[in-house]
């Protein structure tokens, strides 16, 4: 198979406009005849459901939460980027595009990123008109803050709860459509498989998490908006329920999985405290606007912070990257933190932490201003650690936060399976090998509000008169397979809790496919994952039955998929013999320890095709052409 990205012709500034001018339209009378299944209700899923329903499509939406408002987009803290240039600080669509391409270390698809930058402004308009209470100046204008990887202030925010407010905006738009009967909403429904008819995605099979009932749902096209796979690491900043199941099962039905090794390790999280820990908590990147990152210059310095004089502190980000300082991109800030901790200069228990210090900002702006900007984050930090960050610096350490990899999609957001569209974090397209802060919210909403409503017609216009129904043998067969899979899990009857396997998988992947990766380590990880997977299917304990709310069963299904997916991630990391963005192969680094790309060989998307359980996946390549933003070595110095 050859990957055709279907990028429109013409100069980059004209591509999206020319696409829209020539796109296939579906008339209002015909939109009613098409049914769209949307899986997931985060920013991408809710915004797509609401917008497609407004347009007149019949929409059926699924989420595994008890309410669409609970999706993990809600936890995004810092903000959303948009090239509005309200600050008059020199921002433009071009700059947002270039910053995103450069931030992604030249591994994202240019045309998609330009489109993202282009629609970014209308997202803010849309959200304001829904009633999203963005932060304002006294005169009533919208205000902005800075984020990593940019030298302009283009980030819109609502306290430290921007994701919550944007999601509630999309949820309210979705609620309005549900009320009008245009969206049929299924809560507590987990997608367990994708149904193909004649090679096209035409439906899904779900399990009702309350009753255990397994049912089929047919449509003309399926949209996966199911988020990322950070929880393959067990400990991450993602919600406990976030999982790879929907995209993984689509992969096993023929959707190519692109760049699975591109994961984002976020530099500012609360350090791991013990084995009991169930998740890690992010401290928003926005804190780096006013917080200064440092460690003692001397190794093993255990003095209290107030006893360490200024000249004995190493503000290493300001020292190494003077022009971006504490706002260096996430991959660079994380790696630098690991570096100083590896040198023995880390702080706190186990030496796995660095300081994020607000004393200078408090002295400059006053505690009141800091409290206004970040109050809820300081409170959260105090609650978890029992420490007061107004009085002493926070201790932070990198943690897994976001995954840039995902199902491969073309410019229309369609995967390698005709009819299967993938939106938001679940696809791979916009962030390359490293995502800049405040860009995930932008992409989720861009895909849902503005991209898919325009691109869906390309597929649907070819589907007149091709209705399917759940009575067809394809649906019955997939349903039977899903039932067998659930039965197989319940039949293991071991005595090891699911969490145990998940935690062990996480440790393997964190050690060998985390912030630093090596050939030997990745090979070892693949072997370890295989062994762990075998043990899982012999020893996992799932009390209860399949015909009720059974949280062990839910988790077991997701962990079983992570145990397969983790291997693909390591294979991808092993095959990509270069360093780029968040993917750091120790064999490939500059003398200063920065990521060393090999553009001659690896300026490509790696997309993996499933070839059966016991065979190696097939590698497909999409070359990345940089016509507007020329390939350059990233420098934030």
């Amino acid at each position: 198979m050859i990957l055709d990205a279907k990028i429109p012709e013409g100069p980059i500034e004209k591509k999206w406009t020319s696409f829209k001018n020539n796109a296939k339209l579906i008339s209002p009378a015909n939109k009613r005849k098409f049914k769209v299944i949307v899986v997931g209700t985060g920013l991408a899923g809710s915004s797509a459901s609401a917008t497609l329903a407004e347009l007149g499509y019949e929409v059926e939406t699924f989420c595994f939460h008890d309410s669409p408002r609970r999706a993990h987009s809600i936890a995004a803290q810092g903000g959303i980027n948009a090239a509005k240039n309200y600050q008059n600080d020199g921002d433009s669509v071009w700059r947002l595009f270039y910053d995103t391409i450069k931030g992604g270390d030249f591994r994202a698809r240019e045309a998609n990123v330009y489109r993202l930058a282009e629609v970014s402004g209308t997202i803010i308009d849309e959200c304001v008109s829904q009633g999203v209470p963005f932060a304002r100046e006294y005169g009533g204008e919208l205000t902005n803050r800075s984020f990593g990887g940019a030298q302009v202030s283009r980030t819109f925010y609502a306290k430290g709860q921007t994701g919550q407010q944007l999601l509630l905006g999309a949820y309210s738009a979705l609620s309005a459509q549900i009320r009008l009967g245009r969206v049929n909403m299924h809560e507590n429904s987990e997608m367990l498989d994708l149904v193909l008819v004649d090679g096209h995605a035409k439906g899904i099979v779900t399990r009702d998490l309350i009753t255990g009932e397994i049912t089929s749902h047919a449509a003309d096209t399926v949209l996966l908006c199911t988020g990322g796979y950070s929880n393959v690491y067990y400990l991450s900043t993602n919600a406990r329920g976030s999982n790879v199941t929907a995209t993984w099962r689509a992969y096993k039905r023929g959707a190519a999985f692109a760049n699975p090794c591109y994961t984002q390790i976020h530099p500012t999280c609360i350090p791991v405290a013990g084995e009991y820990q169930s998740k890690l908590t992010l401290m928003s990147e926005s804190l780096r606007n006013d917080g200064r990152v440092w460690v003692p210059k001397a190794k093993g310095d255990t003095r209290l912070t107030q006893d360490i004089p200024e000249e004995e502190r190493d503000y290493y980000l300001e020292r190494k990257y003077p022009s971006y300082g504490n706002l260096a991109p996430r991959d660079i800030a994380s790696r630098s933190a690991k570096e100083v901790c590896d040198e023995g200069r880390g702080v706190g228990p186990g030496g796995l932490g660095v300081y994020l210090d607000f004393s200078a900002a408090i002295a400059r702006l006053g505690e009141k201003t800091i409290r206004e900007r970040y109050g809820n984050l300081f409170e959260m930090y105090g609650n978890i650690t029992g420490e007061n960050a107004y009085e002493r610096p926070m201790r932070i350490y990198p943690a897994v936060h976001y995954t840039m990899g995902g199902l491969w999609v073309d410019y229309n957001l369609m995967s390698t399976i005709p009819g299967l569209h993938v939106l938001g974090e679940a696809n791979f397209s916009d962030h390359g090998a490293n995502r800049l802060g405040a860009s995930a919210l932008m992409q989720g909403l861009s895909d849902g509000y503005f991209v898919i409503p325009n691109t869906l017609g390309e597929y649907l216009s070819t589907q007149f008169g091709k209705k399917v129904s759940t009575d067809m043998p394809e649906f019955k067969k997939t349903e039977t397979e899903v039932r067998a899979c659930v039965e197989k899990l319940l039949a293991v009857k071991g005595n090891v809790p699911v969490d145990e396997f998940h935690r062990q998988l996480g440790l393997i992947i964190w050690d060998e496919c985390g912030m630093a990766r090596s050939e030997a380590g990745l090979k070892k990880a693949i072997a370890d994952i295989r062994a762990l997977r075998e043990r899982f299917w012999k020893e996992v304990a799932i009390p209860g039955t399949g015909a009720e709310l059974n949280q062990s069963l839910e988790r077991a299904g997701r962990v079983a998929d992570f145990l397969e997916f983790g291997e693909l991630m390591c294979i991808d990391a092993l095959t990509r013999e270069e360093s780029c963005g968040g993917h750091f192969r120790v064999e490939h680094q500059t003398p200063e320890g920065e990521a060393l790309r090999h553009d001659d060989k690896f300026a490509e998307v790696y997309a993996w095709m499933f070839q059966g359980q016991d065979n190696d996946p097939e590698l497909l390549r999409e070359p990345l052409h940089y016509e507007a933003a020329h390939l350059a070595t990233r420098s934030y110095k």
């Binding site: 917008t51 809600i74 936890a75 609620s175 009991y276 959260m380 978890i384 209860g544």
Partner: protein, 255 residues
Amino acid sequence: MSTMNFHLRLWKQKCASDKGEFIKIHATEIPSECSFLEMLDIVNNRLTREGKEPVSFASDCREGICGTCHMVINGVPQGPGRGAACQVYMRKFENGQPITVEPFRVGAFPIVKDLVVNRSAYDRIIRSGGFISEHTGGAPDASTSLIPKPVADAAMDAAACIGCGACAAACPNSSPMLFVGAKVTHLGLLPQGQAERKSRARNMVRTMQEEGFGNCSNYYACEAVCPANVPASVIAMLNREYIRGEVSEAIGAID
């Protein structure tokens, strides 16, 4: 790291029609630094190893923002201190302390299993009017409406509601008026929310009553337990908005 022991009483109930009962568990060697839900994870994994069914409870983000977790800890919905149940840490308890954990007791939130209740009534209240009707693509430039900072801040404080249901669970009348008031206040303060302001309050209050919730009689228990610090003044705003809505309907100013 030190460890602690607790005498737990956990609610077990197979389904809505089942009677339900407390089970007693002596939870030993719990790390003092772990969160309340991590303590329940430890207990559940021990039960699983013994071949017993764990206690079902809902949780997701575990940082207090998604509103998934919901339970009553020692009589307090969402447990002691500010924040959701996932924000409670074991160091807040005494070593050896008895701890009772039960589901939200609200008629409009039927029990699903153990500590999990069905809060879909809250979604239905939002669907009856908790939104601004506008369609994607039709929005004017964001800078065209000026909203002074104090107004934007007050709207944000109300919009911070996480929809967890603790307000109704804490209220002797099972009233969700803090939840309803939060949305009515958030949208009612903003210029964008004016067009539907009157019908919104009326429709949401009516749905609230149809769902079987009670009304506010000024106990302020909701404000005391709200994980998102939503102030009880939103209920005063709701009452005003509701009366305006009813009067407007009576004189034919709204449908």
